[in-house]
């Protein structure tokens, strides 16, 4: 099992692993989710979806289904 952004604890930081290009929409990269960049989970919405993350200086909210496609390394 790969660890993804969806597995992060609130406040926890990690680095985005190499992105699997087929699964990751271009928009996400354009918003700053790039390989090697540090990502922090700031908050989960009630019912654990969407996720509020800080990445590359941007504060974004993404759905869990998207977060599950972005693998991370510590």
């Amino acid at each position: 099992m790969f660890k993804t952004i969806a597995n992060l604890q609130i406040g926890e930081k990690a680095f985005i692993e190499k992105l699997c290009l087929e699964n990751i929409p271009l928009k996400l990269l354009e918003m700053g989710c790039l390989p090697g960049i540090e990502v922090q989970l700031i908050q989960r919405a009630p019912m654990h979806d969407p996720l509020y993350i800080k990445v590359n200086g941007s504060h974004l909210a993404i759905r869990k289904e998207t977060a599950e496609k972005i693998t991370i390394v510590k």
């Binding site: 290009l21 928009k27 354009e30 790039l34 009630p46």
Partner: protein, 703 residues
Amino acid sequence: MSDDKVVKVALIGNPNTGKTSLFNQLTGLKQKVGNYPGITVEKKLGICKLSDTIKAEVTDLPGTYSINPTSLDETLVLDTLLNEKNDSYPDLAVVIVEIENIKRNLLLFTQIKDLKIPTILVINMVDQMKRKGINIDVKQLEESLNTKIVLASARKKTGIEELKSAILDYKKLDTNPISKITDRIDKDYFTRLKDAFQEFPLYKSWLLITQNNEFDFLTEKQKELVLKFREDLECIKRYQHKETILRYQIINNVLKDSFNVDRSKATDLRGVLDRVLTHKIFGYVIFALILLFIFQGIFDWAIYPMDLIDGAFASLSSWIKTVLPPGTFTNLIAEGIIPGIGGVVIFIPQIAILFTFISILEETGYMSRVVFLMDKIMRKFGMSGKSVIPLISGTACSIPAIMASRNISNWKERLITILVIPFTTCSARLPVYAILIALIIPDKRVLGILNLQGLTMMALYLLGFTAAILSAVLLNSTLKVKGKSLFVIEMPNYKIPSIKNIFYEVVEKTKAFIFGAGKIILAISIVLWFLASNGPSKFKNAEEFVTSQQENQNLSETLLQKKVASYKLEHSYIGYMGKSIEPAIKPMGYDWKIGIALISSFAAREVFVGALATIYNVDSDSESSGTIKQRMAAEVNPDTGEKRFDFQTGVSLLLFYAFAMQCVGTLAIVKRETNSWKWPILQLVGMGLLAYISAIIAFNIFS
């Protein structure tokens, strides 16, 4: 004036960068709404005087994070910048970035720059630099980005003059691409692309082949070439990713030398507010309280200006009748046009109040938190967190609400939102509800404090929302529409709202209503007036006939007049229309008179009240609902000898008005926004059937 030189400026930037503030500072009140060629989406245009002889025509393009669009709004940016032949093609692009998110904001800048359009970079919110511990070396940044940089604070009004003079000098700008990104992706591939479209800048050719839509401005030969390149989708996708990564590398390199942040100076207000506002309990409580406050505002505060407008148009009508000579022309103005305009203007207070609240919530950054809180719930109904704002807007008017759904990038979620919005209780239903409730629900208190009539009104609101949610669930499981797209929203920093921005936003939304719905409401009002004031032979001889009747011999002049008016209406074209639909509406408990009101309210629901007022020949000079109400209450059903507006008929009418799609303006907007007749027809038929069946059931249950 015509000798003036005009520079076409396109204002481009990410959402939440203060782009709109800057636009408002540049153009002030000299704004207008135009249309983009080919598509009927409003374009925000403004004029800005640069010098005595030169002015700038500034287009405020929708906010976007990238030139690659993911929603309808964002597509406009791409279309405007690619088609050199269109009217909106700019001489100059002004890209605005915000100091705090400069890294992400610059991505768009590098894309625009590569299109070889002269580009100025505005760095906004520089007044916050010190507080946030940010330092910029402008000279160095200008050099490495190969552009002119203006430091500004749109809110504090600094840097505006400097920007104007930079715009004046736009011909001196360097139009070379920022760096040879394409070479670094795949030199061979991009050389082939370059050779295929020698007439275009390379990055433009790249954009042409990476998008899915067709570009009308291309020649047949170019279109063919585009299609050929698009065949290798795998490769395009891979290179797009590579391009983005390279762009960020370049941006990081540029910023490394000229931009630095001292994190120790940053404050954490955002964190505290976020924890409260998106809390799993407090978050919803706060949102519910805010909604309650907004609705309070719409109902309680809007009543006063609405009463004023109502009274003013009524007295304008009667004044016209006294000053103009009697005749068809005077009647057209006094009974067709003026009430028609009045019927549009009356809704402005509610719409303006609602959009004031909504734009305050958007300006502060709170709306993104609402989207965040509501997304999961709304998704259960096939919608998105972004559907919340349109659904709330729908309580004022469906038209701006449907337009507010444009930023939902998933087509299926957007479509469902558009389709269910008309179920929310819009302001036009209120007068209808008000008079029917007054007729059939006793003005009593239950449990000491709750007013029965007020409770009924609330129940109707809930009914509207429930119908919207349930039909969304139904649509979600039946619609077979492709809806693959991504939900990413920015959570902007909290800001104090700018009064100027709110004002312009409210003006824009109100205009959208007036020109979207207003034209149609007015046109139909005039048609209806014609149908009600003309008719075959019996109509023409009405006066003679009524006066000659025995029973009318001893009547006073005014009473006789009223009898004539009522006889005329019965034998007018619309009277015959009402009678011809009577068999169809009888199961709901209605007669031909109510049928006339139903037909009339197809322009807009609130016409129901006015139409009934005419039918039950209430003196049209007194507009107070008391008199209309008394007349309606006194009306007797000849078949049963009971009251015409008894409980079962009233409930049946309430349900009919709650569900039926009686708004031509909304249908027209849905056609425009979905670009197909299929969806408005689905709404018309689906909502109509629901209204018809539930009204019949209600009538029979309570009879």
